[in-house]
Amino acid sequence: MDNTIEITGLRKEYKGFTLDDVTFTVPRGYIMGLIGPNGAGKTTIVKLIMNLIRRDAGEVRVFGMDNLRHEPEVKARIGFVYDAPRFPEDLRLETIASAISAFYEKWDGRRFRNLLEEFQLSPRQVFKKLSHGMKMKFSLAIALAHDADLILMDEPTAGLDPVFRFDLLTKLRALIQDERKTVLFSSHITSDLERVADFVTFVHKGRLVFSAAKDDILETWGVVRVSGDGISPAEVPGARGFRRTEHSLGVLTSDIAAARGRFGASVVCDMASLEDIMFFISKGNAHV
């Protein structure tokens, strides 16, 4: 499979937080969701791909090129959407777009105007007068107007109403239909990822937990629930985390079939959602 992004042994150290040894790939023509709780390192990874922060170790290759050595070539093919748009607030949308368009050879003015129209934005509107959702729409229009091969978005759906979130996700899904474009977006809203992502990469406390096809995860991961002290978490095959309450125990497993085989009907085995996985790994009492 052709990869749009290849990240190897990525490391970034901050005071009190270290992103360490992150390795994963994003295949071309697919949507990958980067999930994890707040402070897990999602934004750090996105910023490292964009070279907005310096890496301490590791390698980032985008379109087969090193993202530092070939910075302009790589960025020319990326449509980047920030978690909070960084445009001069007192300018009209058309002025901002005019300033930015000069940097992209493939900027398509007509496409940009169509996108604004589709998002119900006027080029003469002043940026600071837009709502958060409208600002995100404008950022997305900028990112899509130069026919980028990779759409990279940091928490694009945070703070958006469900209607626009749905529209945005539908748009992303439509975007990759030509099998040439790739989308990587970070989010802590797992339902968004379940709706559109083909692959999911989960980071927690600066470390990679897994990076795999979403369907594989949803088919193999599960939660074993048992009341009382019938079993211990270590007995569950593929156990990745557990949560114990006064009367019950829930164990997250990456091999629900093996767990079913082991315990049969004596326990309840549910398929795990991405939210379950995030909850058990980040909020569970302990890892097994």
């Binding site: 960025k75 020319a76 980047f80 960084r86 001069p88 300018l91 300033a99 000069a102 940097f103 992209y104």
Partner: protein, 226 residues
């Protein structure tokens, strides 16, 4: 670099014009009050050298557009070069406006011809270069916080220098020697005969100061996390 220059122009044009409009009152006051062409050149240079970079870099800091700039398909070294070009462009605009105003202002104490000399031009550029050379690396690396730290540090150093000058006493103490050297340097700059050698030295100093500042800014910006 020209794309960065264009972007800075589009992002800051109205603010630059607004500041120049506000400066009109200041220039009018200077032209009306100051009867020495040299003092006019020095005060105008300091004022423009301090204010114009702040407009561009201050707005960038306010709206956090450095992250936008660095997400565009250009290298950081090019961005820094573009910022220097934009700053000097804004300074050129300020100087041009100040001179034009001086030329048409009817109540000037002296004629515009008295300040339109190669020496005055070079002295003005040299003074502005000194200011810009210090301000830009700090602001490019640390934003407005950096410049506030720089200004506060300057104030504290000034207070410390005054206290030391008083405490050490005597005409030959090192602080007084330092101040005399600065004063004499400025006097030489402003009164020395404008021989070709002197002008050439000034040009070399302007180039060296800007090149050193640009070199430092590039190194600092490359290390900046956004």
């Amino acid at each position: 670099m020209f794309k960065i220059l264009r972007l800075e122009f589009l992002f800051n044009r109205w603010q630059l014009l607004t500041v120049l409009a506000i400066f009109t009152a200041y220039f009018a006051y200077m032209a009306y009050q100051i009867d020495s062409p040299r003092i006019f050149v020095v005060t105008m240079s300091i004022m423009i050298g301090l204010s114009m970079p702040f407009i561009i870099l201050g707005r960038e800091d306010k709206f956090k557009t450095a992250a936008l700039m660095c997400s565009l398909p250009v290298r950081r070294t090019t961005i820094v070069l573009g910022k220097y070009a934009a700053t000097w462009g804004a300074i050129g605009l300020g100087l041009g406006y100040a001179l034009l105003f001086k030329a048409v202002f009817p109540f000037s104490k002296f004629a515009i011809g008295e300040i339109l000399t190669a020496r005055n031009f070079l002295v003005s550029l040299f003074l502005i270069s000194l200011i810009v050379a210090v301000i830009l690396p700090f602001t490019i690396r640390f934003g407005l916080t950096g410049i506030i730290i720089l200004l506060v540090s300057g104030q504290l150093l000034g207070i410390l220098a005054l206290i030391l000058t008083q405490a050490l006493g005597g005409a030959s103490n090192p602080m007084r020697f330092f101040f005399r050297a600065v004063k004499s340097g400025l006097q030489t700059l402003l009164t020395r005969e404008a021989a070709p050698g002197f002008q050439l030295t000034l040009v070399a100093a302007i180039v060296a100061v800007n090149a050193a500042s640009l070199f430092i800014s590039r190194a600092l910006y490359a290390r900046r996390d956004l």
